[in-house]
């Protein structure tokens, strides 16, 4: 028999949390850089599941598309383009372990302390059974914000104030211009490479 839905939520939380932590540790202890990249994909993918469970579906999708899809492709390509003979094998030295433990431990202590200092987070919210992940609508609200509407500010009574809360349409279009710059920049890099190789070919002919 299928357990009640509350159990499913906890089940998936523990599943994703465990997978995230285990594969994050695997990244730490692996020595082959390609395996590290693969473990990082799984760890980041599971943390995307955590974001979606928390009702932040846009953040979860962003995690999947940008980190799991994009950044790691660049990472693996970087390894493929620079690797000499064998893929790089990394060993962490003693001093680096100590340094990383201090920095990472300090951040962990800070985060745990902050998390436990928030009263709302120490117990389940009162209306837990009435909440569903789809009701948070973060993606819908974000989409409306990007298209020039702030649904959370529409109730603002003062029309002068309301004018300043018209969303982020300009930023949305500026993002497009930014991507255009990146596209042309990348193309320029690739082109200059070909020009130099052509110049080298001309030199060799001489």
């Amino acid at each position: 028999m299928i357990p009640s839905i509350t159990d499913w939520h906890s089940f998936f939380f523990y599943l994703f949390a465990t997978v995230t932590c285990v594969f994050a540790l695997a990244v730490l202890f692996a020595t082959n850089i390609v395996r590290m990249a693969f473990y990082l994909i799984i760890s980041l993918g599971a943390s995307a599941g955590l974001f979606i469970l928390a009702g932040a579906e846009f953040l979860g999708v962003m995690q999947l598309m940008i980190y799991v899809g994009g950044t790691l492709v660049l990472l693996v390509f970087g390894v493929m383009l620079t690797a000499q003979e064998r893929f790089i094998s990394m060993k962490t030295r003693g001093g680096e372990w100590v340094m990383a433990a201090i920095v990472g431990g300090a951040l962990l202590v800070l985060l745990v302390q902050t998390a436990f200092s928030i009263d709302d987070w120490t117990a389940p919210r009162a209306d837990l059974s009435a909440v569903s992940a789809i009701e948070t609508q973060t993606a819908t609200r974000l989409g409306l914000g990007l298209l020039g509407i702030r649904p959370d500010q529409a109730e603002e009574a003062d029309p002068v104030l309301r004018q300043g809360m018209s969303g982020y349409l300009l930023l949305f279009e500026i993002v497009s211009v930014h991507l255009l710059v990146v596209l042309i920049g990348a193309a320029y890099l690739a082109r200059s490479k070909r020009v130099t190789s052509l110049a080298r070919a001309a030199e060799m002919r001489r």
Binding site: F58, F172, I184
Partner: protein
């Protein structure tokens, strides 16, 4: 808490179980014969001409950057796509704007997104005509 993503998560679980199950069944029950040809890397029937672990052409990096670029573009289209059909999405916003006597329509939203796409398409055409996508 009724998670609307439960089917997705269950799908992920089923996919993992199926693939891991197939791999482990093959590993457990399959005959393990070894041979020189059988241990060769699979290259669609061709004999591999060298080791796979070598430096790749830097031009592959342009492909990777182009992928990330259009990945980010799609990411920004995702909230629009969700808001499009959501009951509290664009339709509700247009209705609210109409009640407040503000000029806002679905065509305007569509135009906004098309401007977003057109700016990138412009760059795409420019880069294409510059011959960047040619593999020379």
């Amino acid at each position: 808490m009724a998670t609307a993503f439960l089917p997705v998560f269950l799908f992920v679980l089923a996919g993992l179980a199926t693939s891991l199950g197939m791999l482990s069944m093959g590993w457990a029950f399959g005959p393990a014969r070894k041979g020189r040809v059988k241990e060769m890397p699979y290259e669609s029937g061709m004999d591999p001409i060298h080791d796979a672990r070598r430096r790749f052409d830097v031009r592959f990096h342009l492909v990777a950057i182009a992928f990330v670029l259009f990945d980010v573009e799609l990411l920004f289209l995702y909230p629009w796509a969700v808001a499009n059909r959501h009951p509290e999405g664009i339709d509700a916003a247009v209705a609210k704007a109409g009640a407040l006597n503000v000029d806002y329509s679905r065509m305007l939203v569509f135009g906004e997104v098309m401007v977003f796409l057109a700016i990138l398409a412009l760059g795409f055409v420019y880069v294409w005509r510059k011959g960047v996508f040619q593999w020379r």
